[in-house]
Amino acid sequence: MKKWKIFLCECGGNIGEVVDLPRVTRELGEREIEIFRHPFLCSPEGQAFFSRKARGAKGVLVGACAPDLHGETFRRLLREQGIGRLQLAPIREEAAWTALRNPTEKAIRLLRAGLAALKQIQSFPTRAVKPRPTLLIIGGGAAGITAALKASEVGLKVYLLEREPFLGGKALHLDRLYPRLECASCVFSPKLSSLLRAERVEILTRARLVGISGHPGDFEVEVECQPRYVRIEECHGCARCLSACPVDPPAINWPVPHPVPRVPVINPFRCLRFKGQSCRRCEKVCPRGAIYFEDTWSRRTLRVGGIIVATGFRPYPVEKVHYYGYGRLPEVITLFDLEKAFSSGTMLSESLPKPLERVAFVHCAGSRDRRHLPYCSEICCGLALKASLRLKELFPRAEIYHFYQDLRLKGSEGEGLYQRARARDIKFVRGRVAEVSEVPWSPEDEGRLLVLAEDTLIMRKIKLPVDLVVLVPGFVPELGARELAALLGLCPGEAGFFEPRENKVDPAETVRKGIWLAGACSGPKDLSETVASAEAAALEAANFLSRSEILVGYPQLEWQASSCGKCYLCVEVCPFQALVPAAEGLKVLPELCQACGLCVSACPSGALSLEDCGLRESQLRAVLG
């Protein structure tokens, strides 16, 4: 007679030392049940043990760690044996590590519940498919570009989605790089150029994701593109149109240092033609006929095997920290305004008051503050230090003050940078700036700003008149991240950054198979970290998409015609349009169904059921009994 088999993993001491496994074995023991114990079921030796012992089982219950960690391993091993029924009871997380007093008792109940579920599932709720070797990358910043390059190098077809008209993201506006102060564009622009040469990369600018269905290995995504009014495939980037435009600055333009694609975009809010006038100058000068005023919003449906999310971050909107006066006082700027000015060269010309005698860098503008950003963004201290050194280079006579809380300079070269700044006579004051005020302390300071702070090292209040205040805010996820998370079913953490499946060992993976994270969308990162994480994501994606087959959930939504009242509420309730009215009543489209169970709980007549995923009363009884 075939038996149910239970495997209990000791997980070293993690489970074995906390849960009384011999007692568990005694209590769960039944005639139809065989129970095995192993010190490390996930080890090669443990897997071999598992395979050997599982042979001929009616079904297998594994009491070990969270399903995400090794569920796939056990499933694969059982599949090799032709065993379809597997249930996992995470007694490590749910009993051994969390039970207050009696982990054994709790483990027994959870295992009983697992057993109850096991006895009712029919088979693997999975099927094997060959993944599509296509990758969608959302976000055309440093992370997206890196990932696209890497993925195309290993032979994947890549769609690179960018919301703006041009690729590059935040990296475009960097001037120098932390900590060695090398020129950002010298490092970054070769990447952009190689992207233009890369095979199998299709760039979709002014585009955003609006819909997704399907499953890992074969997603169907819907992309919405805003009109550019210039045909990318025709334009050669000669820029004649830019000078032909009567508007100043031109309404047809590429307002970035390294436009990729090198195709201008028409701003319909400034273009005379869109204001009802008959101007056609750009169209007339264009040798390629690329100008296309009739361009409209369009939608495209793409089939991709996987998705890399690389939506990045943005600085905290520091105008919310009202006592620093950003947006109100013209001499208060942010680090990023400064960085932009450096990179575009405007710094040397008109925009700053001259002479620049004293500058204050206000660190943690809103950061580590319960009212704004409760966390530290890690990279801003380095960015601020780097920018102050550059400023010193440009204005050697300016006095530069850093108001900081803790200087957090990452990497082995961080300290060197700090020493360099000290050597250039850049001053560091430890203390939070309470206010930036335009009211002068003494008459000679008229027209300057006053920084009010406290030096917490010498416990003295400071009132410092300055010519320029540079706020250094922390980082938050890029706009639209939450909407994207909802669309993709990703899990944002408290701060709104996407959570990887496991922070340490799987930083690029998400809770959803076939979707990976690259760059600063999972937390603030500087360029080098961004690139590294993008490469990791590309590797994960390439690995997944080049497999000969993957197992995907195969939902077993059952519709019972006789109980169905044909009210069709389920059709509206299904988020994936997997249910359609049909002559015989209802049709389930299994390729669209995600087995979420929303229709099951919506059906008043109980005509729908999820055979293998539904929660059962027997499980309840097991934990309550």
Binding site: S563, Y568, P604, G606
Partner: protein, 274 residues
Amino acid sequence: MRLALYNALSCAGCDLIFFLEDLPEAFWNDLEIVFWPEVCENREEILSHLPRGSLEVAFVCGAIRTKDQERLVLSLRERARKLVAVGSCALYGGIPGLLWEKEEEGPRPVTEIVSCEVAVPGCPPEPKTLKASLEALWEEKSLEETSPRPVCDECPRLRRPFRINQLVRFWGEDFSQGDCFLSLGVICAGPVTKSGCEAACLKAGYPCWGCYGPLDRQAGERLLSALASGVLPAKADEFLENLVDPVGTLFRFFLAQSPLVRLRKNLEDEKDSA
């Protein structure tokens, strides 16, 4: 055929005297009425003189609330070879079961006290339903219920995918025909109710009240779940505001058998013992 009939706690509308014109011919063959207060003069004592199994059939047409009623039903069960429970009071507690909302205890379904060979749902059962059940009884067919179908099966109203904009009270709009009541926002128990009535109320321009009894034990919760699934999220507050009588609306005919009312009793007992 020796027969007994007891109305128990009911409106007496399920008494077989309301089905006389619809009873199968076999009913009248050698009919000997032993106990049926509405049509014969025998008193209760007569039952105590009868040996076990001496009645061919006994009908119970209502719910049970008092010890006396329970005793009588138990005594009928003992003497009858076939016990037939007629009507929703007997099967689910019926409308009077709503007393459970207001009192510690209310009437209980007969089926909870004794086993019944045949169950005839409805408030009252349609003649067709009763006739089919009785014929099955006569022919000794086992009445194993095929999985019950919802009232919607017989409903003539138009069905198409919908969301509920808001709950609409049934007080006067012209609903005589058209779309499914639920899609209009009128709470209709059709989808959670057993069919067999040929959707009589729906054909008369009324939503289903659920008199044929729940499709299964979860019917009340299911209907609530469906309504909450259908309502537009932006209208959720309004929806809850307009759900003025959740108990009556969701459990109209079967509150007496809902685990929730038992649960309340358990909780009270717990409190008492504490």
